[in-house]
Amino acid sequence: MKETVKPRGKPLSGEEMKQVCHVVARPQVKYAWAVGVAMSHFLAGLKQGKILGRTCVQCERILVPPRMFCERCYRTTDEWVELPGTGVIETFSISYIDTDANRIKEPIFVGVLAFDGAPPHSGIMHYFGEVSQDAIHIGMPVEPVWKPGGERVGAITDIKYFRPREGARPSSNSKRRKRG
């Protein structure tokens, strides 16, 4: 007999999933990524407690994270510059979940900061610390908290987190743009 209703799929509960046939596997694949020309230099800088960027004289950006070519101008970047390391919070989140979506009790602060001494949006993602949920805001001046020199390995985690920078004047980024 011909089916009159077309099958659209059969939902399974977690319990049913345990009963029906399924196969479990865990792929075993490992990688060693060469970090590349630009990032090798950048990570070596972190180990020395420095934030390094690459200039592009054509679009007048300082590229952080640095790269050896500018993807917009499609030309070789020009030179290495050291930035002061301070910056402002561009955006942030207060996260109650870990990388596998498991819940965590004490929320962590993450976000994007833009480095001082460079054009807008020259920045990276990182953690924020020593700040309360009520105090953290876009435009907040921040500074890096480095691991002690002996513990640094040349990784983004050589910076533990960025914390509020006392006594800094709020950047113009902190002004809320009014809707026109």
Binding site: M17, R61, T91, A101, P107
Partner: protein
């Protein structure tokens, strides 16, 4: 771009989709087959009539099977035919039909089957573990990120820049989950959901709460595309793909302002130009922007030129984006209400416009005989967008 070189107009003449569900018993191949069968049936065709097949599916990592397009080919109906898989992350849902479009528009193929599939439940304990592999391995992964972070950061920047209230954003989740009530495939339809439910749902990565997010799903959807030469032999109500556009920005996402997605606006401009749309606010009757998170619907409406920056939230508060409003937005119920099997959201974006514009949307039908719609999807590392303008001809 040379619009004069397009050889054939392209119409959708059939669509199908499976249930969207947290976990389906069917495999990716089985779901693909079900959706493709429905689309072929609606078009009154069999696989023998199909000249080429496009498969859309997102990361291989969900399935743990590499080169997933080849693996899914049997279910997609691609065996012994010209076949290709396309993948632009979440943007696949609207990009796969664009790939189908150029196969037909070029004049090379008369009838093309587009099948999109996603089976996210295979990845244990949660598809999030696979998402972790889209981040930059050197700078981002050592921070142990969760993909929700990126949305939370973007949403925060959007709210700050345009002075948008969280309460107005949460209304999008309420609207879409209610709209999904009329959808036979919906996973999270809720006729009783309130603004308070969303505001009080558990925090994930603030400002994002659980009900601001669409769920991971299993599901598949399919379309049949044909050229102007045979569309009216198959149906009296073909729906035309009159404009297509796509655009991608750099993966260096910390180097751009997250408040406004310029790459979406560029993709929209391309699609509007091709479709001859001069004033989208006047000319578009229905919008199906990508809504994996509630604020994304607003940001995408603004980038699609259907609202000024920050204005989409006000339109939502004023009810203008309801099914019976001035500009119905996500009348399908969207990803927030129907579910988010990444590539398979084809069925609630382009599929929904096909059903709406041909008057087949049933309980979800937008009143007033809509004739022009825009569908949009968004993906990769929040850098890609695809846009299609669809029209019913008088």
């Amino acid at each position: 771009m040379n619009l004069g070189k397009i050889h054939k107009d392209v119409a959708v003449v059939g669509a199908g989709m499976t249930l969207f569900s947290r976990r389906l018993q069917e495999t990716g191949k089985e779901m693909s087959w079900q959706a493709a069968q429905m689309a072929l049936d609606q078009a009154g065709l069999t696989l023998d009539d199909i000249d080429a097949v496009i498969m859309g599916s997102a990361p291989d990592a969900f399935d743990g099977v590499h080169k997933k397009g080849d693996w899914l080919i049997d279910g997609a109906g691609g065996v012994n035919k010209p076949y290709m898989r396309v993948y632009t992350g979440g943007g696949t849902a609207v990009f796969a039909p664009i790939a189908g479009w150029w196969h037909v528009a070029s004049g090379m193929f008369e009838r093309v089957l587009v099948v999109c599939e996603e089976k996210m439940s295979s990845c244990q304990p949660h598809a999030q573990s696979a998402f972790a592999h889209i981040w930059d391995p050197i700078l981002d992964r050592p921070l142990k990120p969760n993909l929700v972070w990126i949305f939370a950061m973007e949403m925060q920047r959007y709210m700050h820049t345009y002075n948008v209230r969280y309460e107005d954003i949460a209304l999008v989740a309420v609207k879409n989950k209610r709209n999904a009530v009329g959808h036979p495939c919906a996973q999270l339809a809720d006729p009783d959901i309130t603004l308070e439910d969303v505001i009080n749902s558990e925090p994930m990565a603030l400002p994002v709460r659980r009900l601001d997010i669409s769920p991971p799903s299993d599901g598949a959807a399919a379309l049949v595309l044909v050229s102007e030469d045979t569309a009216y032999e198959l149906t009296n109500e073909p729906v035309w793909m009159d404009g297509v556009g796509w655009c991608i920005d750099s993966t260096m996402w910390t180097n751009r302002d997250l408040a406004f997605p310029k790459f979406v606006a560029r993709a929209a401009r391309m699609a509007y130009e091709m479709a001859g749309i001069k004033n989208p606010r006047e000319e578009i009757d229905i919008a199906e922007p990508y809504d994996p998170f509630d604020y994304k619907e607003l940001q995408h409406l603004e980038a699609l030129g259907l609202a000024d920056p920050g204005e989409a939230a006000i339109m939502t508060r004023e009810g203008k984006t309801q099914r019976d409003g001035e500009l119905p937005v996500c009348p399908s119920g969207g990803l927030l209400g129907v579910g988010n099997p990444i590539a398979a959201t084809l069925g609630i974006k382009v599929g929904e416009l096909f059903w709406q514009l041909s008057g087949q949307a049933g309980a979800r039908q937008v009143p007033g005989d809509p004739a022009v719609g825009v569908a949009q999807a968004w993906g990769d590392l929040m850098q890609f967008s695809s846009v299609i303008v669809m029209r019913r001809r008088p």
